[in-house]
Amino acid sequence: MRTAALSVGFIPLVDAAPLIVAQEMGFAAQEGIALELRRAPSWSSLRDMLSFGQVDAAHMLSTVPVAVAMGLGGGGTPLAAVSVMSVNGNVVGVNRVLEERLRGAGFGFDFFDARAAGVALSQVSDTPLRVGVPFPFSMHAELVFYWLASLGPVAEGQIEIKTVPPPLMAEAIEAGEIDAFCVGEPWGSRTVEKGVGALLLPGAAIWNFAPEKVLAVRQDWAETERSLLFRLIRTVWRAGRWLAEPGSILLATELLSRPAYLDLAPELIERALTGRLTINATGEERDTPQFVEFARGAANFPWRSQAEWIGHQMALRTGHDPAAAREAAAQVYRTDLFRAALKGTSADLPGASSKIEGALDADTAVASAAGRVILCRDRFFDGRTFEPTG
């Protein structure tokens, strides 16, 4: 098989790991492709690079293909999410002033209970609470809204969401431009490392199984380049499985820390991969199950219901029609392409393409093509569930 080169864009984050591993560990070569990885300076740039054909595929916020389908933000080329590259992996943190106030109020920083953390935070923060997120249309923004809105007191004007690119989050906290943040690792750990912030919650504490990054391509490219697309999907899927093995952490950490990729100390990157995070300047550590998932629990399956949740939430927030948003969203998560690409591999896929989000209290076996596939706990912190239309 002749090796075909594919250019793929990424943002320097721990959850770009499947692409980096795919290339460096030879999973791409196994499928006869070579990934030319291009680091992008911002999410809007990466989306535009993809839209205008500067790259063939991209590491993309799970929300962006949905936002494009809803006509939110720039970029008009229809995008498809052909697999979920990672689930969870974000942290919520606060500046040192809020950290002190929370401590003063007797808050224990359990890094687990989102309700308790939200209540404590709303009691000690000035209004508006300024929260930095990497992009206006991001899981980070949706998680923060869902979390604080669900607690009630966050009425109009009490929180202000500000866009801060991940690598600049620590600087924005330091400069006092924001009071709190929600960002992907390792950029939250970096605020701790720089002594300007403390971590309050993992994203997983708000939603146990939130699709975070997807493998995104242009819809027309997905139609015309089927063979390449399927090879790419399989490549990233294999890299994810490798990443999910505990024995891979050390090597993955070293690969990610290289100058061409994250260009950061391995110690910082390792925290997310082990799920053991240092939450404050005194060095306290917390373990988080499901901190970030690359394969477990059918993590790569692009559930249409996940897309619907994203569309629904974004519509509520931006004044769009939720029903129309859900319908548009469900169509960009391409379970059909994912299934077709993995046919003939050992992958066991769920029988359904949509599920009630937030219904699983524990890891649960569900029907699949080969028998049963285990899905992970996927609760929302407030116990609500989301029923998809499709």
Binding site: P41, S45, D48, G73, G74, G76
Partner: protein, 194 residues
């Protein structure tokens, strides 16, 4: 829409911003402002209500501009959009040159084109300058390394400069490496041993 089009150039490097502004002024009658202070970028742009915003693609603050699409309600000025459907090839050219443009919805493509053309020309020039600068710097550094390596070989082996270079070149050819890389390895190793 009549009157002068207002354009905001977002560029942290004030000199560079001014050069872009100058390039635009040559292309037509525009009201051009440069913003170099990147904190509160979105608010500032919203307050000034420009027709077009130009920003370097490599600038991470670009993501904050996406908020503009949300901030404007139905009574505000129309939503800012990335110029995507204006003219075939124009957006591609802009992205390739490293410039992104946010254009107020409804602005006629014919009015946007000269602005983008001028911006693209400037950004291409910057790109060339950046590449030239990087290349020159690299060449100079490699030259210095090779000179140091030559000096070491001359001293250690008691040979003339020309022969020292021949030794370096042969080593490079034998190992399938560049002369500069072999020189660098020698200099690094020597540093460790001394």
């Amino acid at each position: 829409m009549t009157g002068k089009m207002s354009i905001i150039v977002v560029e942290a490097d004030r000199d560079r911003g001014m050069q872009i502004a100058e390039g635009l002024q040559q292309a037509g009658e525009f009201d051009v402002q440069v913003i170099s202070e990147l904190t509160h970028l979105a608010q500032e742009i919203a307050a000034r209500q420009p027709d077009i915003v130009l920003i370097d693609i490599a600038n991470p603050s670009r993501d904050t501009l996406e908020e503009l699409a949300l901030a404007s309600g139905p009574m505000d000025r129309p939503v800012a959009m990335f110029v995507d459907r204006s003219e075939a090839g124009l957006s591609d050219a802009a992205i390739e040159a490293g410039v992104s443009a946010y254009v107020v919805d409804g602005l006629h493509p014919a009015r946007v084109k000269p602005v983008l053309d001028a911006a693209i020309a400037r950004f291409r020039m910057f790109q060339r300058m950046r590449v030239e600068l990087a290349e020159t710097k690299r060449a100079l550094e490699e030259r210095k390394l090779i000179d140091r390596a030559k000096g070491m070989i001359m001293k250690a082996r008691g040979v003339e400069e020309e022969e020292a270079y021949a030794i370096l070149r042969k080593a490079a050819m034998d190992q399938g490496k560049r002369v500069a890389d072999v020189a660098s390895a020698l200099v690094t190793a020597a540093g460790l041993l001394s």
